[in-house]
């Protein structure tokens, strides 16, 4: 067949062709002109004149030819690929089981990665669409010896840092507050962020509507202005006419001057931002340097790192202690630390996300190893086919390409299936509605996630495609054809690869099993942690009294008294208490305490305690046991200002075996210890114990306007909350009930991320176990069928069934055990990544390791047993005749 299109072959050939073509033309012309009587010289000149400049023409022709060559080559390659793809599809279609197994394996690996990466993306990046987010640093106060770590800064400290222009180009400090805002006529609790410094400049956020305020707006006497979140704006009106209107936050009127875009969400729960007014109290250097109410965020100057910033901050703290000795009189161990904003925001989700990322990478590696081993087994089966193709003239490159196209198709197909699976997983996580982590509710498969998945898929394709491809390149044609067709040449090296793959699958599976086992055991330990209170049948909700209508302490006390009576009157309510600082309802802060007359014991830590203000039948309602003395009760009333209950931790730390009852304590105010309560977990089941002081709210009600009501009841929480709202409305319809939930729900919510990571790790470990077992099964089946001749001979020579079985089992179990050993070694190296996820058990927990190993060995035994049964059934008469 003539292939005219391909005439311009190599560049050299094409150049010679152009020369020949032009020479033919000019020679022809010259001869023609000479035939008409011209001299040779004249004819040459005339021919050249008619032709023009040969050099230009030549150059253009070569340019066109080069282009043609390139296009032709490209078209041929595409056609070749299409041919290969059609061929591969036919080949794969003939083996639906093999194809299906590989597709599902890749889908699991890629899908798990896509899902986890979407979580990583949501947790670490997405909530903050902030330009240059990497330059933002968070500064925190730190009191290591008091056990007060990672604390907010005082506004005075923040103001000092604002002046450090050599560290921060812009900076801000953000407080938090809750206030009642009327939305559609319903008073609703809203959280807001009073800010000082250049909040909007630091976060580089521009208003979607109107304008923002400036640092100077924090000075006394400035007009009160507020910037709304997009969410609050849509709840209020979603109309630009809102600008200039007055919004009452609590009782204070503010002028609405702007709305931020929906993409901005810092602090996450903030519905509005306003300048924090710096009054004379906040600016008192002697009294307010310890008022730790603002989170500091600064944009670091170029060249400054978080590490260097940390060093600078420690020096600055030292300088402050000298400069403001009175302000830091009560604390001896104050210092400051810096952290990157992104890391600080990911918070407690970060270690989980990191562990999941490692786990999901292991799953992917395992899936790749699995697919590679399936392909190797398959390659053995088709070695003859490939050898025939090679003998018929297909180049090694062509054969390798066929295999590569095949694995590309498998990878792409698997990756697409994986995305579908990931979509399902993401829906599932969203359906869990982890209310504490709203960031997880916004999971989706966004563009970066898709890009990441694409990258993963390409990597997978290379990992699973290259090994078989390379092996095919080395296929020895004559050996493969000579062979009986079942064993290919290079059997030894293939077996090595297969063993390697099975061993690594076991190692990876062990890692995942141990990881999942550890999180499960931790969760189990956590569920058994005694929080110190009886969480069941207690509903908690918070109520805030408007400051301007309840100015007097007596007024507030009267309100709580009558509210308590009404709550108690609800049928089904057993007891009612109130507190600021009840467990899992938010902190009431902490203060140093002093015990006049009680000298510090040897090795006693700094006397620093959390605090709570309680009112009514709090201890009985919460089920907090009073181990000595008595509880604070309603009877203590306003007169019992000095009545204090401390917890066991404080007694253990400061009294030892001595009797604390009757001792006087200075904790904010001076009081007398009347009782000792069991220690409770305040915010997290994993927290260590820290002293806690209970104050009698009745005696100090002058300044606390907001309490959490706790109600012990057999009523369903929703029902109780409705009844409580009705009782409240009878007293004062302008006050909303906020944060209503049972204590059990709150405890469960605090375990949400752990439950989630346990489930995910468990799912990963289960998946890997199945994959690894499939791998062992496939490989051992292959080994048995390859050695059926040998087995036949052995049987013919009188080997016992049990001996044959033992031989096969031994080979399979050796791989499993070697894999276990490697996996255990890997875990020794990677285990510390688990530390943040593990509670109550050591990271290197022998029970978990042994349990996981036994599970894996048991499963591997099963996976080897089936092929070994087949080996026993080998009929020597058949296998020996087969050749």
């Amino acid at each position: 067949m003539k292939r005219l299109v391909r005439l311009p072959g190599s560049p050299a050939r094409s150049s010679a062709d152009v020369d020949a073509e032009l020479a033919f033309h000019l020679d022809g012309r010259i001869e023609e002109l000479m035939a008409r009587g011209m001299t040779r010289d004249d004819a040459e000149r005339e021919a050249m004149r008619r032709f023009g400049d040969p050099a230009t023409v030549r150059a253009e022709m070569e340019r066109i030819d080069t282009d043609t060559r390139r296009r032709t080559a490209f078209r041929e390659r595409v056609m070749e690929l299409a041919r290969d793809a059609r061929f591969a599809l036919r080949t794969l279609g003939r083996r639906p089981l093999y194809t299906g197994a590989i597709l599902v394996t890749i889908a699991l690996g890629v899908g798990a990665n896509a899902a986890v990466f979407s979580a990583v993306h949501a947790v670490l990046r997405k909530p903050f669409e902030i330009p240059g987010i990497g330059r933002l640093a968070v500064v925190r106060d730190d009191f290591p010896r008091m056990g007060l770590r990672d604390a907010a800064l005082s506004p005075l400290e923040a103001l000092d840092l604002f002046d450090r222009k050599e560290l921060f180009t812009t900076a801000t400090a953000v407080g938090g507050e809750g206030a009642t805002i009327e939305i559609d006529g319903v008073p609703t609790r809203a959280s807001g962020a009073p800010t000082i410094g250049d909040f909007f400049g630091t976060f580089a956020v521009r208003p979607a509507l109107g304008r923002t305020y400036r640092p100077e707006d924090s000075e006394m006497g400035r007009p009160r202005v507020v910037v709304l979140s997009h969410r609050l704006w849509t709840q209020l009106s979603a109309d630009s006419a809102i600008l200039g209107t007055t919004l009452r936050i609590g009782e204070t009127p503010y002028e609405v001057i702007g709305v931020l875009p929906a993409s901005f969400g810092y602090p996450r729960s903030a519905l509005y931002w306003r300048p924090m007014t710096l009054d004379s109290t906040l600016l008192n250097q002697d009294k307010s340097r310890g008022t730790l109410i603002t989170g500091f965020v600064g944009r670091m100057r170029d060249g400054l790192t978080v590490e260097r910033l940390g060093g600078e901050l420690r020096a600055i703290a030292e300088q402050w202690h000298r400069q403001y000795a009175a302000g830091y009189a009560n604390v001896s161990d104050h210092t400051m630390m810096a952290r990157s904003f992104v890391i600080a925001q990911a918070g407690e989700l970060r270690p989980i996300v990191t562990a999941l990322l490692v786990a999901v990478t292991l799953v992917l590696l395992l899936a790749c190893a699995n697919v590679a081993s399936l392909q190797l087994v398959r390659a053995a089966g088709r070695a003859r086919e490939l050898a025939v193709r090679a003998a018929l003239g297909a180049g090694r490159g062509a054969i390798a390409r066929t295999l590569l196209v095949e694995s590309t198709l498998l990878t792409v197909g698997g990756a697409l299936l994986g995305l579908v699976a990931a979509q399902g997983a993401v829906r599932w996580v969203r359906a869990l509605e982890l209310s504490r982590y709203p960031v997880l509710n916004s999971l989706d498969l966004s563009a970066p996630v898709l890009a990441y998945t694409g990258g993963i898929a390409v990597l997978t394709g290379i990992l699973v495609g290259v090994a078989p491809g390379l092996r095919a390149m080395r296929t020895d044609v004559s050996a493969a054809l000579r062979d009986s067709g079942r064993g290919a040449s290079g059997g030894a090296s293939r077996h090595r690869l297969l063993r390697l793959s099975v061993v690594s699958q076991h190692a990876l599976t062990l890692l995942l099993l141990v990881g999942a086992g550890l999180t499960m055991r931790s969760l189990d330990r956590l569920l058994r942690v005694d929080p110190g209170f009886a969480a069941d049948d207690v509903v908690a909700f918070s109520v805030s009294l408007p400051q301007q209508s309840y100015t007097e302490g007596g007024q507030r006390l009267a309100f709580w008294r009558s509210f308590e009576e009404r709550l108690r009157a609800i049928p089904g309510v057993q007891s009612v208490g109130f507190a600021l600082g009840a467990p899992f309802t938010g902190s009431a802060g902490s203060t140093m305490y002093d015990l006049p007359g009680v000298p510090p014991m040897a090795g006693e830590p700094r006397r620093h305690a959390n605090q709570a203000f309680v009112f009514g039948d709090y201890f009985r309602t919460m089920g907090i046991e009073i181990v000595r003395g008595r509880a604070i009760t309603m009877a203590d009333g306003a007169a019992g200002a000095t009545v204090v209950v401390v917890d066991e931790t404080l007694v253990r730390q400061s009294f030892g075996r001595a009797d604390p009852i009757g001792a006087s304590i200075v904790h904010g105010a001076e009081g007398t210890i009347v009782g000792v309560a069991r220690s409770v977990k305040l915010a997290d089941l994993t927290e260590g114990s820290h002293p806690l002081v209970y104050h009698n709210y009745g005696g100090v009600a002058g300044w606390v306007g907001s309490l959490t009501a706790v109600v012990r009841t057999s009523l369903p929480p929703a029902f109780l909350l409705k009844a409580a709202q009705r009782s409240l409305a009878e007293l004062d319809p302008s006050i909303p009930i906020a944060d209503g939930a049972s204590l059990r729900e709150r405890l469960d919510a605090s375990l949400g991320p752990r439950r989630l990571s346990t489930r995910i790790l468990g799912a990963f470990a289960g998946m890997s176990l199945v994959l690894a077992l499939l791998g062992v099964y496939a490989v051992m089946s292959h080994v048995v069928s390859e050695r059926s001749r040998e087995i036949g001979i052995r049987t013919a020579l009188g080997a016992q069934r049990s001996q044959i079985m033992a031989m096969v089992m031994r080979e399979g179990m050796t791989m499993a055990v070697v894999g276990l050993a490697i996996g255990a070694g890997l875990f020794a190296a990677l285990g510390r990544l688990m530390r943040a996820l593990v509670y109550g058990v050591p990271v290197f927990d022998a029970a978990t390791l042994v349990g996981a190993s036994l599970l894996l060995v048991g499963a591997a035994l099963g996976a080897c047993w089936l092929p070994s049964r087949r080996a026993v059934r080998v009929d020597p008469a058949v296998t020996l005749k087969a050749d």
């Binding site: 033919f24 012309r29 022709m61 066109i64 030819d65 282009d67």
Partner: protein, 112 residues
């Protein structure tokens, strides 16, 4: 005499297609045929012909192969591909419409 008519590239393509519609020819033969038929009134700049031929080959309108010329020398022969034949028909009808429209315009009176 209109023997200095400038040939635009598109027109040259059409001429080449027309010429090759009679059968395969090498470049020189194409030029000679154009000279003969137009009685040497159309002067083609000969150097421009060859790039045009290669370009049409790239587009798949022409196919080329080496053969022996009348006087037994190696020459590159071009022939129309089916795609080139379709192109010829399309260009020709386009050209004819253009020429008749142009003649109508040029033949018209100033205030028709």
């Amino acid at each position: 005499m209109a023997n200095d008519l400038d040939l635009m590239r598109g027109t040259l393509d059409l001429f080449v297609l027309k010429t090759l519609a009679w059968g395969p020819r090498h470049g020189l033969a194409i030029l000679r045929w154009i000279e003969t038929v137009t009685q040497a009134q159309l002067q083609v700049e000969e150097g421009a012909l060859y790039p045009a031929l290669h370009r049409m080959e790239q587009k798949g309108w022409l196919a080329a192969e080496w053969g022996l010329s009348e006087n037994n020398r190696r020459a590159k022969y071009y022939r129309l591909t089916p795609k080139g034949r379709r192109q010829y028909t399309a260009t020709l009808s386009h050209w004819q419409r253009y020429v008749s429209a142009a003649s109508l315009l040029l033949a018209s009176e100033g205030d028709a």
